[in-house]
């Protein structure tokens, strides 16, 4: 390693040139950087609901649905005109597979000679009677009414089913523009919702956040460095290290085609907050040693010889903590772990190359202000260690009380998350989604996929009956807006074919009694006969398909009637509500579905699974990262017991993190769970620094208590200082669009302070109380 450091110091220009080329390469890649807000992409295929969801995408023509809301006087001549105009504008979108609106929805009607399948509003109405007729016709197809007309009849929804190959972001952008144009010269108010639109806004939020984080991160670091070093090199060198690290990391992501997600958007801030520490460390030492040197190269050589190993060690433990996120099984979190680790690695490389190369080219300069500030902090740390030693019992009791109160707070933790509620209250997409959830059937969907083992399976009365019962059952559950399937169509056709007799608004029985009436020789003859329900259904469908188009059913059943789905629209995307519905549905399926293969999937189910997996995965990754940290520090200090000491402040920090969440009502969700894993990797540095120093002191003076102030005035100062710098870096995340990221920023900052506090409080008290032999041994080893 020393050879490597010499190589860098002897060849500063070559080093800088090489770094410049790498930076240019990765910066050029940035043009390919993409955003991806789809959380379901992250799921492993091995999950049944994900397999079903993918199968569903393959069977049915449309994956996602956008919703356009029209608010105005709907049942009026102008209202009808505007709605049907809007409908045809949407139908003209090449991205739309089909459009369903109160004007174009197909109405099935029994007529004298047969059935009629026609759009609800065939011609624009010109009189109040026409409006009345339109309204009546709509009421004949009750299945879709709740999705299309609001409960207060003040607004309508137009559903736009998108083709599978569509770039949904581009579509959403186009749609919003079109609606803007539309509202300029129409009376009604229009706005959009649905997953593609929500995702579009989330992508926009991610892009905005990245910009805000990056600029405010740079400004913050600039100000901090200026306060610390009051010199150009003190500001510019660390700043360059973090900016270039971020460029390399994002460039690398773009290069291998990984898009930025909701989770990975925080990477730049992570890298900046963590990466800055090493160069601050190096520069501090540089300034301390500067008065004793005349040659730049010699000064840099001394600094690097002394510091390269702690710099490498702390970077490695941080990386290990991040990589532990890989146990989460969630792709986007794995990416967060891997690319943050990559970023920390970049910062390490730059700290070991760029920093010495640049410094060795510059003339030696001596900073003044820095030492005064540090002197004040040192005085405080000495007083603090004095206080700890004198009042160790009270402090121990204090810590114990904090822990007990924490346990109480932790019991108040709740798991809750909602994608929509991540957005600020005044965000247009949150407002429109809440509007749809309030007045219409809802934006989140469960699907129950019925999988048959032969063609025509779905035409069986038994199967259709279960589907119908499932719908009626689901509609009674709270927060369910409506439920639909092919069964609704069959009931409508059955009724239409039997002269609109309401008693036929049902699925045909296994054996159906039918009659015909005819006249023979002036006598009325009534002939009764029996027919198999399955045949009747098949023929009803044939009649419908010849009257309209089989594609009318394409969103509900596949082309050869082997697989079908029941759509259940839910008015919320909150975990607890979705879980209740999910449980109720699976209970129903267990009880009522015998021999029929039916399973729950859909966006709602995937959301639930994503969240469950994340939380479970996160507990695992917390354990994994604690283990990794223990392992690395045990090897570093060559003692498994010292390894445990390193982990102790982390336990305290995590404990307090969850307690704060419980006390402030911050819910457990993906983002807040990740906090702990990240905090472990970063927070361990404080324990390492303190223990490292303490062992050295213990080795020289062989006294447990006297070593405390000795360690405090050196590494204690560095730790306090560092934890405030990193915490203020994380606080920037509070500026995010998303609530989860805001909480995360707050919690990360908090955990930095608490782990540092624990390292400087719990460890000293433990050491002077129990006087662990392992430390002494390590001290001796160190001395030898």
């Amino acid at each position: 390693m020393k050879k490597f450091m010499n190589l860098i110091i002897e060849n500063p220009w070559k080093t800088l040139l090489a770094l410049l080329f790498i930076t240019l390469f990765f910066t050029y890649q940035l043009k390919n950087l993409k955003m991806n807000p789809d959380i379901t992409e992250a799921l492993p295929k091995s999950i049944p609901a994900k397999r079903l969801y993918d199968k569903m995408k393959e069977i049915f023509p449309s994956k996602d649905m956008a919703m356009v809301i029209y608010e105005g006087n709907i049942f009026s001549i102008n209202g009808a005109k505007e709605i049907s105009e809007l409908t045809s504008i949407l139908e003209d979108f090449p991205e739309a597979y089909s459009v369903m609106s109160p004007t174009n929805i197909k109405i099935i009607e029994g007529v004298e000679e047969g059935i009629n399948v026609e759009e609800a509003l065939k011609e624009l109405p010109s009189s109040p009677e026409d409006i009345k007729k339109w309204r009546q016709r709509l009421n004949e197809n009750p299945a879709f009414l709740k999705n299309l007309i609001s409960d207060d009849e003040k607004s309508v929804a137009i559903l736009v089913f998108l083709r599978k190959s569509v770039d949904e972001d581009k579509f959403a952008e186009k749609l919003l523009k079109t609606l803007d144009e539309f509202s300029k010269n129409h009376k009604g108010k229009v706005f959009a919702s649905g997953q593609p639109v929500i995702n579009y806004y989330i992508s926009k939020g991610i892009a905005r956040d990245m910009g805000v984080f990056f600029t405010s991160g740079i400004i913050l670091i600039f100000v901090l460095l200026l306060l610390i070093f009051t010199s150009a090199r003190g500001v510019l060198i660390p700043l360059t290290v973090v900016i270039v690290s971020v460029l390399w990391t994002l460039g690398f992501m773009a290069f291998i085609g990984k898009p930025i997600t909701h989770a990975t958007e925080i990477i730049p801030i992570l890298i900046m907050a963590i990466g800055i520490a090493d160069s601050i460390h190096l520069l501090t030492h540089y300034y301390q040693r500067a008065p004793f040197h005349t040659s730049s190269r010699e000064l840099v050589r001394e600094v690097m010889y002394e510091l390269h190993s702690p710099v490498i060690m702390t970077s490695l433990t941080t990386m290990a903590g991040f990589i532990a996120l890989n146990t989460s099984n969630m792709e986007s979190l794995e990416e967060l772990g891997i690319f943050s680790a990559f970023g920390v690695f970049c910062a390490l490389i730059l700290s070991l190359t760029f920093v010495p190369a640049t410094l060795s080219l510059l003339k030696i300069k001596i900073g003044k202000k820095w030492r005064e500030e540090k002197g004040r902090l040192r005085g405080f740390m000495l007083k603090y260690s004095d206080f700890l030693i004198r009042r160790k019992k009270s402090v121990a009791i204090g810590v114990a009380i904090i822990l007990i109160v924490s346990i109480f707070a932790i019991s108040k933790l709740n798991v809750e998350s909602s994608q929509i509620k991540q957005l600020p209250k005044n965000n247009p997409v949150r407002k429109s989604a809440e509007f749809v959830n309030k007045h219409f059937a809802g934006t989140t969907t469960f699907y129950v996929l019925f999988e048959g083992d032969e063609d025509g399976y779905i035409k069986k009365p038994a199967v259709l009956k279960v589907m119908d019962e499932l719908e009626r059952y689901a509609e009674k559950l709270s927060n369910v807006g409506s439920a639909q399937s092919i069964a609704d169509f069959i009931k409508l056709i059955n009724k239409a074919i039997h002269n609109n007799d309401q008693s036929y608004y049902r699925i045909p029985k296994e054996i159906e009694e039918e009659k015909i009436v005819y006249f023979e020789g002036g006598k009325k003859i009534e002939e009764k006969f029996q027919v198999k329900g399955e045949k009747l259904i098949a023929q009803l469908l044939q009649l419908y398909e010849l009257s309209s188009s089989p594609e009318d059913f394409a969103n509900f059943v596949d082309f050869n009637y082997r697989n079908a789905r029941v759509a259940i629209f839910v008015k919320t995307d909150e975990d607890s509500q979705l879980r209740k519905i999910d449980r109720a549905l699976s209970e129903f399926l267990k009880k009522n579905v015998n021999g029929v293969k039916a399973e729950i999937t859909g966006m709602a189910k995937l959301i639930l699974i994503v969240r469950e997996m994340t939380i479970k995965g996160q507990f695992l990754s917390i354990i994994a990262s604690l283990f990794l940290i223990w392992l690395i520090t045990s090897l570093m200090f060559r003692s498994p017991i010292i390894g445990i000491f390193n982990a102790m402040p982390l336990f305290f920090g995590i404990f307090l993190n969850f307690a704060t969440m419980g006390a402030l009502g911050i819910p457990i969700n993906i983002m807040t769970m990740v906090t702990s894993s990240l905090a472990i990797g970063i927070g361990v540095d404080y324990a390492i620094h303190f223990i490292h120093r303490y062992i050295i002191e213990l080795g020289s003076n062989n006294h447990y208590e006297k070593s405390i102030p000795q360690s405090m005035k050196t590494s204690g100062v560095a730790i306090t200082f560092n934890s405030f710098v990193v915490a203020s870096g994380f606080i920037i995340l509070v500026l995010s669009t998303f609530k989860g990221v805001k909480f995360m920023g707050f919690l990360l900052a908090l955990t930095m302070i608490t782990t540092a506090f624990a390292a400087l409080t719990i460890l000293p008290i433990y050491f002077i109380t129990f006087k662990p032999k392992s430390l002494k041994k390590a001290g001796q080893r160190r001395k030898e």
Partner: protein, 256 residues
């Protein structure tokens, strides 16, 4: 002088190739004459594939020309079993909407089906009612685009444009291009363009058979290049110009 000879020579070469000796409508008239029939009887196997799922139907078909541009058609479903015995009757009207009826054995009743226009899908396939009928020469402006090579066959390429917006709306086509084999005067390939002017469907004729002097398209594939579907029609046991009884094309026969 040599130049002039060259030019004449080139012209001599081009003229027979370009097929300028026939106008578009003349070609189409020949097609109607050579492939037309008075009545026909046969079986069709129709395979419709949508998003990788195939539906097969077998049908017994009778058809006749009632007048110069009106036909009648009766279809009896043989397969699949759940629709076996259902019958479909189509009575075409040059003026006004066609009559369409379906006999449902499960209800022992005939139901009238509201006509969805000539551009409606035939049996839910990619063929429209218009595609399977005789070309209605009055509805289109034909233009001979010349003789071209088509899979090693010299064919006339004929462009058809609707004579008015109504035809365009009815059929859904803004343009059709036919490839016609001048030996059999049968359409061997066609491209259909939607109302936005984008290519929509491609017809491939896989087999043409001479039956009683009529060139009959035995095997057709219609591919929807915008969507995810393809339909295949295969004819069997075709008999032509037997003199079918008009009684076949009535509701009463449909129920038998």
């Amino acid at each position: 002088m040599r130049k002039i000879i060259n030019i004449i020579f080139i012209f001599l070469l081009i003229i027979p190739l370009s097929g300028e000796n026939f106008t578009g409508i003349q070609i189409m008239e020949k097609v109607v004459k050579k492939t037309g029939w008075k009545d026909m009887e046969g079986e069709i196997t129709m395979k419709i594939t949508v998003r990788g799922r195939t539906r097969t139907r077998k049908i017994k078909l009778f058809s006749r020309k009632r007048t110069e541009d009106e036909s009648d058609m009766v279809m009896k479903f043989l397969y699949p079993p759940d629709v076996e015995g259902t019958g479909f009757l189509l009575i075409e009207h040059a003026k006004g909407e066609d009559e369409r009826y379906l006999y449902l054995p499960a209800l022992r009743r005939i139901k009238r089906i509201a006509a969805s226009g000539k551009g409606g899908a035939f049996m839910g396939s990619d063929f429209s009612y218009y595609d399977i009928g005789k070309p209605k020469l009055k509805d289109w402006n034909y233009k001979n685009l010349g003789l071209v090579d088509f899979n090693g066959l010299k064919c006339y390429k004929v462009e058809a444009l609707p004579i008015n917006k109504k035809i365009e709306k009815d059929t859904g086509y803004s343009k059709i291009i036919h490839w016609i084999d001048p030996e059999k005067w049968s359409i061997v390939h066609a491209e259909y363009y939607d109302r936005m002017g984008k290519i929509w469907k491609i017809l491939e004729v896989k087999e043409i058979k001479n039956i009683n002097g009529v060139w009959f398209q035995m095997h057709l594939i219609m591919k929807n290049v915008q969507g995810e579907s393809v339909s295949e029609m295969k004819f069997e046991n075709i008999e032509i110009n037997k003199g079918l009884s008009p009684k076949l094309f009535t509701k009463r026969y449909l129920m038998q």
